[in-house]
């Protein structure tokens, strides 16, 4: 990156004998929205807390706008943060919460009041200044928390699973709102989540983390379509994994439950007899032949789930089972369980996981 705004360099963190973050590196550009995605315990929150200053890295350094902040206390970093839930000060009104950072910074009251009003407009709660947090819904509380974090004009915005305590509908609308505000202000943002849909929908780039390490860094498109590791492929999206054995490395032939697939040029470096995992997204598979699909396998319909606009079909292939989605078409009835069928896909969509 030409001009990284936030640089995280060789960060390690251990609590006693357990290492929770190992050699984590990341450059974030100015105004970029980066998500840390991973299961709980993967170290994503720890990295965020080190950027915030709540944890000190065991080694490595953190640079914001060219300045090393690794040893700075949280209250010296000028960073905004939104916590999971219930982090509003219960004894202060909405306006006092939003103005908290301005007050401790010593901003004159008229200026602070103007800024608070501005922030309440931004989160579309201009009439809520005199309420107390307990009088707000969960979604409103998190919007106030966002306004509170943004009011002192931080250099960096950190979001620690801010949506996880909300119900599904609010989660989606608030997610979009966060993204809109972030774009409007152009503030560099790190968003921690364990929800892959959230990360995919909102981010410029995603860091998929596992076991204290970054498994892959990339745009949502790259992460979803070209997962670099088996973990990323499994964690992001639904995936069909077929176990196979390379039957002829030179010809690119792979045997999957007594059927043979020809995958020329995709087996980079595999030898005959190697075990392989082949992964396919449900939407990449079609029932029957389809133009552009150069590979096919024989199977039997095991299961049909009618989901409305989409029909999810599960097809048994000898030992394994694959799921695929077809669109509902009122002219053709869904397949029947037990029918023999053929599935087809493009070998370009096939992910070979080592």
């Amino acid at each position: 990156m030409a001009d990284p705004f936030l640089q995280i360099e060789h960060i390690r963190k251990s609590f006693g004998p357990t290492t929770v973050v190992q050699d984590f590196n990341l450059d974030v550009g100015r105004g970029e929205f980066v998500s840390f995605l991973g299961p709980s315990g993967c170290g994503k929150t720890t990295v965020l807390r080190m950027v915030a200053g709540f944890e000190e890295p065991s080694s490595g350094r953190i640079v914001v706008a060219g300045k090393d902040v690794t040893r700075l206390k949280p209250n010296q970093r000028n960073v905004g943060m939104v916590f999971q839930a219930y982090a509003l000060f219960p004894n202060l009104t909405v306006a006092q919460n939003v103005g908290f950072g301005l007050k401790v910074a010593g901003m004159p009251k008229p200026d602070a009041d103007r800024r608070v009003a501005e922030m309440l407009n931004l989160i579309k709660l201009p009439e809520f200044g005199d309420r107390y947090p307990y009088q707000l819904s969960g979604g409103q509380q998190q919007r106030v928390a966002l306004a509170r974090a943004l009011a002192p004009k931080p250099k960096l915005l950190l979001l620690d699973e801010p949506l996880s305590a909300l119900d599904a509908k609010v989660r989606v609308s608030l997610r979009d709102e966060i993204r809109m505000i972030q774009k409007e202000l152009g503030i560099t943002t790190i968003f921690v989540t364990h929800d892959q849909e959230e990360a995919l929908s909102i981010s410029d780039r995603i860091v998929v983390m596992y076991g204290g390490k970054a498994e892959q860094v990339g745009t949502p498109f790259e992460i979803y379509n070209r997962p670099a590791t088996k973990f990323v492929a499994n964690f992001v999206g639904t995936l069909n994994v077929l176990e196979g054995v390379v039957s002829d490395a030179a010809a690119g032939k792979v045997r999957i439950s007594s059927q043979e697939l020809s995958l020329k040029g995709k087996l980079n470096g595999s030898k005959t007899g190697d075990q392989l995992s082949l992964a396919l997204r449900p939407e990449a598979i079609a029932l029957g032949p389809k133009p552009g699909h150069d590979a096919s396998l024989q199977g039997q319909i095991a299961d049909v789930h009618f989901l409305g606009s989409v029909i999810r079909v599960r097809v048994g292939l000898g030992s394994g089972i694959v799921s695929l989605d077809t669109f509902n078409n009122s002219a053709t009835p869904p397949p029947t369980v037990g029918d023999k069928t053929e599935i087809s896909f493009s070998s370009n969509d096939l992910l070979v996981l080592h």
Binding site: P74, G101, V104, P152
Partner: protein
């Protein structure tokens, strides 16, 4: 519901008795014993004192008893009682808070917590005469520390510091033994309820530790602190036994004066005795009313 006609009558009868019991307030019967007890042994006794305070020897209404409280002895008794209760409550709150905060927030090892709370439960119930004996054995004229200071350092505790266990200062010191643990018991859950996120949110917004305490933590704790203070105040205001054992009947504090009055009418007027007791209810009542009022003011942000 059974569809068969024969059982229909029974069902009907049952629903009739049910609706009857709905109409009659039979559910009140369940709380009658409690309210009867409260009335006879809590409310009426207190009320009879209040009435007695306003009744003259002839049985008519009078303010003479209340006015009669305004003697140097009785004024001093109330004053010393309030003084002792106020300071023992305040010091109890401060020391108890310091110890609870040290345990919960100060990074002391976690294994200290449970024994401290258990011990506080014991100590807060260890009052009365045995407590006085313990303090006499420790800092009384022949107590462990007094003797130790004298023999090892040649220091006369009483002459050097003016400390006398059988005075109000001694009383306050002795009351610490149950006031401090009571505070610890009440404030520890309140300190636990301070969320880590509040502290971190304040910090990341640029607040110092002192600012966090002044603007967030202290206002949140204030209702608990006030409530505990009122409780500790009432707790020492009505305490008779410890004071009695320390200083005997001659210590002029309101409960001991009342004790002597009940035993032997030292005030020379039964009505004055009721007025004295009534005054005690008023003072503890005022302390609690003040607490409720302050709490209502500080708790606007609570449901």
């Amino acid at each position: 519901m059974s569809p068969h006609p024969p059982s229909g009558g029974a069902t009907e009868r049952m629903s009739q008795t049910l609706s009857l019991s709905r109409r009659l307030p039979t559910q009140w019967l369940g709380v009658v014993p409690f309210f009867l007890f409260a009335l006879l042994f809590l409310i009426l006794p207190a009320l009879s004192i209040v009435l007695g305070a306003f009744r003259g020897p002839d049985g008519g209404f009078t303010l003479a008893n209340i006015v009669g409280l305004n003697t140097p002895t009785i004024r001093a008794a109330y004053w010393v009682s309030i003084y002792v209760s106020f300071w023992s409550a305040l010091l109890g709150c401060l020391i108890g808070f310091a110890m609870a905060a040290a345990t919960v927030l100060g990074g002391l090892p976690r294994f200290i917590r449970s024994p401290l709370l258990t011990f506080s439960g014991v100590a807060s119930n260890f009052a009365g005469l045995p407590l006085a004996f313990a303090f006499i054995a420790t800092i009384g004229p022949a107590g462990l520390i007094t003797v130790w200071l004298r023999t090892e350092f040649g220091v006369n505790l009483r002459a050097a510091t003016g400390f006398n266990l059988f005075s109000t200062t001694g009383l306050i010191a002795t009351y610490m033994f149950f006031q401090v643990p009571l505070m610890i018991l009440i404030i520890t859950p309140a300190l636990d309820a301070l969320r880590r996120e509040w502290r971190e949110a304040a910090e990341i917004l640029g607040a110092t530790g002192a600012q966090y305490w002044r603007m967030v933590a202290f206002p949140i704790l204030l209702p608990s602190l006030l409530g505990t203070f009122a409780l500790l105040f009432a707790n020492s205001f009505g305490a008779v036994a410890t004071a009695f054992a320390l200083a005997g009947p001659q210590l002029n504090i309101a409960p001991i004066l009342l004790f002597s009055q009940i035993r032997g009418d030292v005030l020379g007027s039964p009505g004055l005795g009721y007025a004295l007791a009534f005054g005690m209810i008023v003072i503890t009542g005022l302390a609690n009313a003040l607490y409720l009022w302050l709490r209502a003011r500080t708790e606007r942000w609570q449901k």
